[in-house]
């Protein structure tokens, strides 16, 4: 959980003391701006109430808000928005509506709107979900939207993903065959069965939902986590890589904080928006690793 860098606190301290010495013009302006923002906020809330009353067909969303820099948002809180419902509306649509119409400081990552970029995994009504892939009509009112659990919140719904990326990098996530065909126009052969075997594992979009749902990953920062293990599975099971390489991959997975940490909670598999059978892959790797170790005896 503490993926925060230690030196940051120093940097913060410095900045603060700078500010104390001579409140710069910029600071004053920003101060005024904050006040205005607060006023606008109050106004918005009033307007919103009216709107909600006027429009029957709205949905209520409760959104987690936090910003380390903005007064009034330093203490985490939930903001309520009433957005007009339309058929086909997703949680992401609702957030965009709230941002564009009520509060442009509402912050969340999103890009593709079609479940391929993996930017918008969030904790929606008690489950990790992709906001863009979740129909709001399927959720009960009010829709409660929080940032991914077990990750540091940077601002509103944005969490720090660095730790997740580090874990992905730790499994040497790249294809590494022993040899390639000499002809640069000749492909390596791969059987259909083998491609089928790795197919699901290649679908991962790095959304981090699985990692966030896993209690082990929450407790043990060094645990590789389901997504990284799945990434390793993708290569370890690919026949095009050599046997020695496969063994090396198993060795990485076998570290103390590798596959053995998984306690088959299944929540990763349940929340994965790409339906990757993560637990199954992890279990298969455990068995592979045991088999591999038995060879030593």
């Amino acid at each position: 959980m503490s993926t925060q860098l230690p030196q940051q606190s120093d940097a913060d301290a410095e900045v603060e003391s700078d500010a104390e010495e001579a409140p710069s013009k910029g600071d004053l302006r920003r101060e005024r701006k904050r006040q205005r923002a607060a006023e606008a906020e109050a106004e918005r809330e009033a307007e919103e109430g009216e709107r909600a009353a006027a429009n029957e067909n709205t949905r209520e969303i409760l959104v987690f808000r936090f910003d380390p820099e903005v007064e009034g948002k330093q203490e985490p809180r939930f903001d309520e928005f009433h957005v007009p419902f339309e058929k086909g509306m997703t949680v992401l649509d609702a957030l965009i509506y709230a941002r564009d119409h009520f509060d442009s400081s509402l912050t969340f990552r999103h890009s593709c709107r079609q479940a391929v970029c993996g930017s918008d995994a969030m904790f929606v009504n008690g489950q990790q979900r992709l906001a863009c892939k979740t129909q709001i009509s399927e959720l009960s009112d009010p829709v409660r939207i929080e940032p991914l659990p077990h990750a540091d919140v940077r601002k509103d719904l944005v969490v720090d993903m660095q730790h997740f990326y580090d874990q992905m990098d730790a499994v040497e996530p790249f294809f590494d065959p022993d040899e390639l065909p000499e002809d640069e126009l000749a492909e390596q052969r791969q059987s259909r069965e083998n491609r089928e075997k790795v197919k699901m594992s290649t679908r991962c979009i790095w959304c981090g939902a699985c990692m966030s749902s896993c209690n082990i990953a929450a407790g043990d920062n060094q645990y590789l986590g389901p997504a990284a293990i799945n990434k390793a599975y993708r290569f370890a099971m690919d026949d095009r890589e050599g046997e020695d390489r496969t063994e090396e991959r198993l060795e990485i997975l076998e570290q103390e904080h590798g596959v053995w940490r998984c306690q088959t909670q299944f929540s990763c598999t349940e929340v994965c928006p790409k339906d990757i059978p993560l637990t199954e892959h992890i279990q298969e790797l455990k068995r592979e690793a045991v088999k591999n170790n038995l060879k030593f005896w």
């Binding site: 407790g219 060094q222 306690q263 170790n293």
Partner: protein
């Protein structure tokens, strides 16, 4: 990058042993419960009855094995749970030591008890 594993790691072994002991325990624990709660009711326990059972070599060895596996399974389970909660470094080493010590004490004490019933190692 996570630290690279170098030589043979016991991670997999411990994991495997945890399963193997579990499989063994299913059988023995069921037998144990059945024998001491249903066949012989708990309130009918007496030193002599226990003693009589313990004097057979097969029962004695089964119980010692039971003790050892259960201790390993339980203590290793606890240790794993702690690592899962992110226990590392010096603290981890300390707790590991303490757990091993406790296991030894438990097993020694258990065997002494068994010997007390059997009147020494049953031959």
């Amino acid at each position: 990058m996570a630290e690279r594993y170098s030589s043979f790691t016991p991670g997999g072994t411990m994991w495997l042993l945890q399963r193997v002991t579990a499989a063994f325990l299913v059988v023995v624990l069921a037998f144990h419960f059945f024998l001491l709660h249903f066949v012989n009711h708990a309130d009918e326990v007496s030193f002599l009855a226990s003693s009589a059972r313990m004097e057979t070599l097969s029962y004695y060895s089964l119980m010692v094995l039971f003790l050892v596996t259960a201790t390993f399974h339980g203590v290793n389970g606890v240790y794993n749970a702690l690592i899962n909660q992110g226990l590392t470094g010096r603290k981890k080493q300390l707790i590991k030591g303490a757990l091993i010590l406790a296991s030894i004490v438990l097993i020694v004490q258990g065997i002494r008890t068994a010997n007390a019933w059997a009147g020494g190692f049953p031959l």
